[in-house]
């Protein structure tokens, strides 16, 4: 299983531009960690339901009515680049 772990490919999925050194380092360290977690395969989980949440909770909804949100200026205040009341990003569509 851990042989099939390709750090470069996974980093691409996670939108991380890892350096060559990081790729090498992580390939080793994460391979080692994955070998360690392999021991979970020893556990008999037949018929066991997965726990997604510690408490048995169900979805909570509120009434579909609009409420005030963040003020425009507050929402823009941390933007790395802003202009004309909008957040500026590199071109999305060619």
């Amino acid at each position: 299983m851990s042989d099939q772990f390709d750090v470069r490919y996974v980093a691409q999925l996670a939108r991380l531009a890892l350096s060559e050194d990081e790729v090498t380092k992580f390939q080793g360290q994460l391979g080692h960690i994955l070998s360690y977690v392999e021991q979970l395969k020893e556990v008999d989980v037949t018929g066991v339901e997965p726990t997604a949440h510690a408490q048995q909770v169900t979805n909570v909804f509120r009434a579909d009515a609009s409420r005030p949100g963040l003020e425009h200026a507050a929402a823009l205040a941390n933007a790395p680049r802003a202009a004309n009341g909008l957040i500026v990003v590199p071109k999305v569509i060619e």
Binding site: M1, F5, V7, V10, A11, L13, A14, R15, L16, A17, L18, S19, E22, F26, Q29, L30, H32, I33, L34, Y36, V37, Q39, L40, K41, V43, V45, V48, E49, P50, T51, A52, H53, A54, Q55, V57, N59, V60, R62, L70, E71, A74, A75, A77, N78, A79, P80, R81, I87, V89, P90, K91, V92
Partner: protein
């Protein structure tokens, strides 16, 4: 006569009520400690301006003098871990990614602290995005243990624990995903507590593992921890995992409950250092002398707790940290070639090594073809771990255990091997996996003088039982 900054919140409230001291005097005492010790300890990322906090303190004094009501936190200085959003006050999560981030809102717990007249003194240091066990993963430099400056304070709430231990705050808030409140409390010799999952709102807590994270109190006494917990607890419509639980009282119990204390055999095997074992066993014996009953219990899936935790936590983290893309807030690289380049290089340069490692691991274990073998399987083992505890609580009311296998280790001692660092979480991750409340209280010292904490875990929603147990051990 000890300094004001050394006293507990409970003692200080008494002195304030009787007019023997003022909020301004208390704040001055704490500020003096910060001036004296912060350059060595480095508990804070941001300390608020002295004149501002003194002004806040004077305002509470004035209200008290006019006979107006003052909240339960009485104008006392409170430190907040820097992953809790504070309106208008920089919040970094210990990362370069959020170095300049100023939240446009208060976390729910912050609203509650302010509403109770707590005065925020500053934001404390932490492992980046709550990933670590020593506060060495902070992008702002490590915090040093006030008891021994060559050692770590623990993590990830190392700054909050160190601030309270060094008298640079009277109370603090931390967050706990795998032991991040309890382990630093143990290493620094203070009280730290993780509530039942859902008791405290996570709205405004910068997320790491959403099914595991909880905010909790760090304090000098169990009574103080109960006080702060009672202020921050409560259902919150802004957190859909928040529960409606009966309130915790901060009052000392009229009569301490006599409890059955479960001692899990799997927690006292290899890997537990002699000095920690000695202190824990002495505390448990003490509890027996006080009239509590000891019960031998077994938690058979203990050895699977760490791999289960790391698979779930890293998977959830990979999703929670996807938002740090350089678009709306946080660090963005200059001159990105295109959108994809902006994402990839902003994340590469803004996020630290441990964070990237966990994102890569989490992404892998959720990816097509692997999620069943890793993530789903971990969630099933999580169910079995939960069942272990449910069965144990048929025979006992509290489970006693170490918090960590060792006392505070030296700075740099564990940083080269990530897995070695992970293994130190063996006793603490189960409370997060199960959602159960757990507390670390000082249980004396190792022969070399380093603090040792004892952990108690209680049934879901029975957080009050933890405070009863701690009373027995309080100095």
């Amino acid at each position: 006569m000890s300094k004001l900054a050394e006293k507990t919140a409970t003692e200080l409230k008494g002195l304030l009520h009787s007019g023997a001291t003022s909020c301004v005097e208390i704040m001055q005492s704490v500020l003096a400690e910060i001036r004296a010790r912060e350059s060595d300890v480095h508990a804070f990322i941001t300390v608020r301006d002295e004149s501002e906090v003194l002004k806040d303190a004077a305002e509470v004094d004035a209200r008290r003098q006019r006979g107006e009501s003052v909240g339960a936190l009485a104008g006392l200085p409170i430190a907040l871990k820097d992953n809790i959003c504070t309106l208008g006050l920089r919040t970094t999560a210990g990362s370069r990614m959020l170095e300049k981030y100023v939240p446009p809102y208060d976390a729910t717990v912050v609203k509650r602290v302010r509403g109770a007249d707590g005065i925020i003194i500053g934001k404390t240091n932490m492992d980046e995005f709550s990933m670590g066990s020593s506060t060495e993963n902070s992008a702002y430099g490590p915090t040093r243990n006030p008891r021994d400056l060559s050692r770590v304070p623990g993590g990830t709430s190392g700054g909050s624990a160190a601030a309270v231990a060094a008298n640079m705050a009277i109370l603090a808030l931390g967050s706990d995903t795998g032991g991040s409140i309890r382990q630093p409390a143990s290493f620094c010799g203070v009280v730290g507590m993780k509530p039942t999952y859902g008791r405290v709102s996570r709205f405004g807590l910068i997320a790491y593992g959403s099914s595991l994270d909880q905010i909790g109190p760090i304090a000098r006494s169990v009574e103080d921890a109960a006080l702060l917990l009672s202020v921050i607890s409560g259902h919150d419509a802004n957190d859909s995992t928040s529960l409606n639980l009966p309130a915790i009282t901060s009052e000392a119990p009229a009569q301490a409950r006599k409890l059955r204390i479960g001692v899990p055999k799997e927690y006292f095997g290899e890997g537990l250092s002699g000095e920690v074992r000695g202190a824990i066993e002495a505390s448990i014996a003490q509890m027996q002398r006080e009239g509590h009953t000891l019960v031998d219990i077994s938690l058979p899936h203990t050895k699977y707790a760490i791999p289960t935790y790391y698979l779930i936590a890293c998977a959830e983290a990979s999703a929670n940290l996807a938002r740090y893309d350089g678009v709306r807030y946080g660090h963005r690289v200059a001159d990105p070639a295109d959108l994809l380049d902006m994402y990839a290089r902003s994340r590469e340069t803004g996020l630290g090594e441990e964070v990237k490692r966990r994102i890569v691991l989490g992404t892998f274990t959720l990816s097509a073809g692997y999620s069943e073998a890793y993530y789903l399987r971990a969630q099933k083992v999580r169910t079995l771990i939960r069942r272990d505890f449910e069965q144990a609580f048929e025979q006992c009311d509290l489970i006693a255990s170490p918090v960590a296998p060792t006392t505070a280790f030296k700075l740099g001692e564990k940083t080269s091997d990530p897995l070695a660092m992970y293994l130190g979480d063996i006793y603490s991750v189960t409370a997060n996996l199960t959602g159960l409340p757990a507390l670390s209280a000082p249980a004396g010292h190792a022969p070399d003088g380093l603090p040792v904490g004892i952990q108690f875990t209680a049934r879901s929603a029975d957080d009050a039982a933890l405070f009863h147990s701690g009373h027995t051990l309080s100095q």
